[in-house]
Structures are given as C-alpha cells and as structure tokens.
C-alpha cells in the first residue's frame, strides 16, 4: 500500500459522521459573505446596499488573477457591507444579505439528471471554473483556475480524497453520493489541462468509497483509484504527490506543476462538474458537524454564509461543556472566536471539543527525544526551529529551512513534553517570510 516517504503520524480517526447521508441544511435568515474566502487578493463587491440578489448572483468580482468571485447563496436584499469576524479569527470586510425566499438565477440547471458531455474547449472550461468562483475546497482555498493554468506541461492529475484529518467526513460522504458527478468533474479537469491520467487518492480507512469509486471509474478512461495507507498528513499537496506518483515537489517557489502534477480536492472536482455542466457557481458545500459530545454528528449540504451556530443547532445543539469550536479538522483547523462565523468555501467541518479535550497539556522542557524529527513529513527539526524562533535567530532558522514547514502539526501532536512547537515555528515562519520578502524587495 502506497504512502508518502518521510515522517507522518496516526491520530485517532474519530470519523463519527462516516456513513451518514448528506442532509440539506435549512436556509439562514441572514447570510454573510466574507470577501477573502480564498488565497490571493480579496474579492471586490459588485453589489450595493439594498440591491436585490438571487441564488447564484455574483456579488463580488475577483480582485485579481489569483482571486475568485463570490456568488450569493441566497435570494434577498443586500443589508450592508461591513466587517465581521470570520473563521480566521480576524475582522474582515463582508457582504451581508437578508434572506427572502429562495429564488434561483434562471441560468442554473436545477434538474437532477447527470450531464456527461460538454462541447466546451479546455480554455472555456477553465473560464467557467474561474467565473464560478471555485477554489480548492480542502481548506487552503487556492483559486482552482490558477492551478488549472500551469506554467509547465503537466502529465497527471491527482484528486485528493484522502481526508486525512480526523473527524471530517465531508469528502467521504460526497464520494458515496456523488461518485458519478465527481468522476465527470475529474474528466473535465483532465480535459482542461490536457492530461490523460488521473488518480483518485483515497485512504484505506474508507473501503466503501474505494470500492464504489473503483466500480464507477471503470466507465471512464484514464481515471484510476489509488488506495493509500492511512497516515497524516497525506492530504498535504506535497505528501500526496509523493505518495501517489513518487515525485517530490522542491521547495518554493516550485509548484506541483513543476513535477508534472496537479492536485485538486474531490469536493473541487464536484464543484467543477456543477459549474461546467449545470452552470451553477460555487455557493454551497458539504460541511461535517462533529465532535464526541455532539448529539448527532452530521454531513450537511450548506449554503455559504450560513452562520455555524445554525449547523451546530441542527446537529443537536451546543453541548454544555464545549471548550473549543474548531473550523476544520483538529490537526490544522482554526479555533473559532464565536459561532456566528459564516460557512465559507473552505469550511470542511465544524468540530466541537469538550472542555477537557480542548485544554492543552502543560509544556515541559524538551527532552530531545527526537520524536518530532522522526514524524516531520518535511524532514525538518521542529525542536530546533522552535528554539530558534523563540530566541529570534532568524538567519539560522532560515538556513534550517523553516520556510518549508507545512504547518501540519505532527510535531506538536507527538511531542511527549507537550511543547507548543508549531505555535513558535508558525510565528518564526511568518517573521522569516517577512525578512525574505523585504530582502527581495530591496534587491
């Protein structure tokens, strides 16, 4: 069974909502659309206060090439353009829409029949994807059309259905219910970049999804399901390429395309299908609501902009002893400041942790057990980078390749002394990145 070569950990899987059918979430009373839901320039609002919008109406234009437009997921009236606290924990500008009814843009094909073929040319496909505001739906939110316009020739597409984060099952449930659509989406990606071979990478803790996708993939040329051994952080782009096609992407500024590979999330493939075949922009996604204390863990098809508190309510309400609410999975997700944060394009899950689970262990001195070095998937020395960051030795930290850290958290997860390794490394990475940019700007 394939997996990536260096490091990795195996957190408890806790896939509580696995096997649960996708339920359709109710409409919110008010929907909030932060303008930076993706990596790159924030979107620019193209509606004014008081404007009437329908489901699928574009409300914000892309702010540049590396950016994506935003579409309304509800019909109603633009209440205001204001700042709200989003999932990043900071206050960012957003469009707020008061919901009124559920009127869709007439151009969207709402029928359930599956469309298999399109006469569109590759360039037109990419254009549609760009226009539909599709971004990587695994969490990083990198605009999909940028990835689909590679600088160098590409020979393989890898579909990331690994879902290596514990608890999350959004991709799993999507594969179980929309396998045909996903495969057509993969076909579209292949056509868009002119590639003959695609792998769908699935960890083997989802045998049902592997079997189903293998069965359905028989009807498609060049698409192969690639089962992988369960290991975190397999869903990391670099680790996934290493695991599936055994190629290692060099350090930035190199991109996956430089080794001839493009990685897209399985949710993105589905969104691409809907955008190209059904003319439906990206305004809803599957969100897992889960946690050991949650009454009914669920996979919910949710409109963007719905406050997370509504989803928690739907899953049985917020338990009394909730200590932490996490947007995303437990390894890389962000702890939320409040539950009014809206669901965004990258929100794969909401995880509630009890008071007891959410408290960190007390940090003890580093005993140099080298476990962090062993598990680091990038071959770094987290204990050293942490100390260098703490003591602001930026030059040495840069020499020790702090910038290649992917912030997967394996080191901190495994540290027997409960040291906050990644907290420091992340801070150091930010500072060193700033120093490097300043140096580049000077020269």
């Amino acid at each position: 069974m394939k997996t990536f070569r260096i490091g990795g950990v195996h957190p408890e899987e806790n896939k509580l909502s696995a096997g649960k059918k996708i339920e359709v979430m109710d409409l919110p009373k008010q929907a909030i659309f932060p303008l930076s839901q993706h990596i790159g320039a924030p979107a620019v609002p193209c509606v004014a206060k008081g404007a009437l919008v329908k489901v699928g109406t574009k409300i914000a234009d892309a702010g540049g090439f590396v950016s994506a437009p935003i579409h309304s997921s509800v019909s109603g009236k633009v209440a205001k353009i204001d700042t709200v606290i989003d999932a990043s924990g900071y206050r960012k500008p957003a469009i707020i829409i008061d919901v009124d009814g559920d009127e869709w843009e007439p151009s969207i094909d709402r029928s359930t029949n599956i469309v298999h073929d399109t006469p569109l040319e590759p360039k037109e496909i990419v254009a549609r994807i760009q226009e539909a505001g599709i971004v990587g739906m695994g969490g990083a939110c990198f605009p999909a059309h940028v990835k689909l316009s590679p600088r160098t020739p590409v020979d393989v597409v890898i579909i990331n259905a690994v879902e290596c984060e514990p608890y999350l099952t959004a991709d799993h449930s999507l594969m179980m219910e929309k396998s045909e659509e996903i495969l057509i989406g993969v076909n579209l990606i292949m056509k868009a970049v002119g590639v003959k071979k695609a792998y769908i990478a699935i960890e083997n803790n989802k045998p049902d999804a592997i079997a189903l996708m293998q069965e359905k993939a028989k009807g498609f040329v060049g698409i192969e399901v690639c089962p992988l051994r369960v290991k975190y952080p397999q869903g990391g782009e670099k680790q996934l390429i290493d695991a599936v096609v055994n190629r290692q992407v060099p350090n930035p500024p190199a991109l996956p395309a430089d080794v001839g590979a493009i990685v897209q999330n399985v949710g993105t493939a589905f969104a691409i299908y809907e955008a190209v075949m059904k003319n439906k922009p990206l305004f809803e996604r599957v969100v897992t609501v889960t946690g050991k204390s949650v009454a009914e863990p669920k996979n919910l098809l949710t409109r963007m902009g719905t406050p997370m508190s509504m989803l928690i309510e739907k899953a049985g309400g917020m338990p009394e002893d909730t200590g932490k609410v996490i947007g995303g999975g437990p390894m890389m997700g962000k702890a939320l400041l409040n539950t009014d944060v809206p669901v965004c394009k990258g929100s794969s899950g909401i995880l509630l942790m009890t008071e007891k689970e959410s408290l960190r262990g007390e940090a003890q001195p580093c005993i140099r057990c080298s476990k962090c070095v062993t598990v680091c998937p990038m071959g770094l020395e987290p204990y050293l980078l942490q100390k260098l960051s703490e003591h602001t030795e930026w030059e040495r930290a840069e020499a020790e390749q702090i910038m290649t850290c992917i912030e997967c958290g394996s080191c901190q997860f495994t540290c027997p002394a409960h040291r906050p390794l990644l907290d420091w490394i992340r801070m150091g990475k930010g500072t060193v990145g700033g120093i490097i940019r300043a140096r580049a700007a000077k020269s």
Binding site: T83, I85, S88, G89, Y90, R91, K334, A335, L337, N338, S358, L359, R360, A363, P420, D423, W424, R426, M427, G430
Partner: protein
Amino acid sequence: MNVILVAVIALGVLGLVLAAVLFLIAKKFAVEEDPRIAQVAEVLPQANCGGCGFPGCGGFAEACVKAAGEGSLEGKLCPVGGQPVMEKVAEILGMTAEAGEQRVAVVRCNGTCANRPRTVQYDGVHTCRIAHNTAGGETGCFFGCLGCGDCVAACPFDAIHMNPETGLPEVDETKCTACGACTKACPRNIIELRPMGKKGRRMVVRCVNKEKGPVAKKACAAACIGCGKCVKTCEFEAITLENNLAYIDPTKCRLCRKCEEACPQGSIIAMNFPPRKPKAEAPVAPNADAAAPAVEPVQVVIPTVETAPKEASENPSL
C-alpha cells in the same frame, strides 16, 4: 645538571622565538583604532545594557565617533547616563550636545478588565507574539493590549510591569530610559516613545483601535470611536484623526486639556497633571485609579494637593 641546562635553554629559546612571532604578528595585523573611541567609552556608564540600540557601550562609543565624523551626534543618546554623559561625549568629540528631548514609553491602551470584557480564553503560549498570531486576542478589540507581558520581559531596566488588576502594563517613569525595547517587543505597536513633556505632563490618546465607532465601543468602553470632537476642540491643530483613531502630536500640544473634556469615551488621558479641583467626597485610592471606569477621568485625582505631583509620577498609569 646537564638535563636542567638543556631544559632551560630549550624553553628559553622557545620563549624568545614565540615572543618574536607574537611581536611580528602584532605589528603586521595591528588595527588602527581611533583613540577617541576609548575616551568616549570611558565616560559611558559601562552598563552594556544596549538601551542605546548599539551592542554595548563599546559599540555606542564607536557609533558616536563615527557620527561625529559625519558632523552630528543627533539621535545618539545614552539612556542611562542621559544628558550629562552626552555632554561629556560631545566635549571629547569637540561638538556641542544638543539638548536631547527626554522621552518616555507610553502604553496607549486602556483596555482594562473592566473596560474590555474578555470574550474568549487564549490557551496558547503565554507570549504576545504568538497570541497576536492566533486570532484577535481574548477580547473583542483586535488592536489593544494582549496582556502577556512581552514588554515586561523586554525591558532591561525593570521599568515596566503588569498590573494584575487591569491586565495592562504600566511604565515606571522614574526608571524608563526610553530605550525602545518595549516598543519593539509589542507586536501591536501599542507602546510609543513620547516626549516627557514639562514636569512629565502630557496628553495621550490611550487607544489604538482603528475600528469604526460602534465596533470599537462594543469591544471596549474606553475605546476611541473616532468621533472627531477632540479634533474640533483643539485650538492648536495638534490632534489628527486617521482610520477612526485620534492622535495627539506632542510637539504641537499645549497641554490645555480641552480635548480631555471633549472626549465622550474618556480615551484622552492627561498624565501627571496636578488635580484640577480636588473633590473632597471622592478620594480615590491611587491603585484603583487605573481600574476605575474611564468615562469620567476627571475623577481620577489624588486627594491632597501637596503630594500630588510626586505620587502621580509614581503612578504613571493615571
């Protein structure tokens, strides 16, 4: 006998040869150093605190000599020795020391526990640098003090301390040398070096929140809401309003205290002023002052007139 003789001769010859080698090396690799550097270093306090921004007193002496060569000692100040030492330095270098303005660190946040309710609990490393990276911090204000005390740890003169009641750092103005270590340590640029002012008196907007009024007010009762009343009140054009935040230019401020009265939020604080009209019925203990609601800062007074200036300088957080 013979053995001793051989040993003595051998060692003696070895010593001579090595001495010659050392002598030659010292000659060949001698570094010409400006003798004034040593002279300047002599008058410096030799505390090697780094408060001047140079690596120790030696580094500062070198920098001073270099700056003198370029014609001006401007910006060079030994915070420990102060003006007297700088005059001596200037004398050695044959220049006149400009009367450098004495400055002091000012904490521009009044988000006490009472003013700024905690909305979440931060459970990461207890340092501002990381708390600042985590999210907006423990309160609704994303600009204000994080309260982890990086400035306290950075201060080489023990001049800044956390007040456990307010959760904010307080500057001990008698100890502060304006070295700027705390301003660099603060990830939110809350601490500013401002001119000491006459008798230590100065007007400060104790807020750095750039949010719009309602948002800022919701997060903190003492936040500047950017209403602009102070700007209109000021007769000397010393106050500017940018990004919903007022700023008092210390070089223009004439300490008339009108803006303090005009501010509806009590964000403008008059520091080290003698009490205006001592109110006999409201004797507030100095320690409780900072925690007291800042809506009526006029009440924040020290009861007796005689001791007021002295005590005020000891409690700079008023």
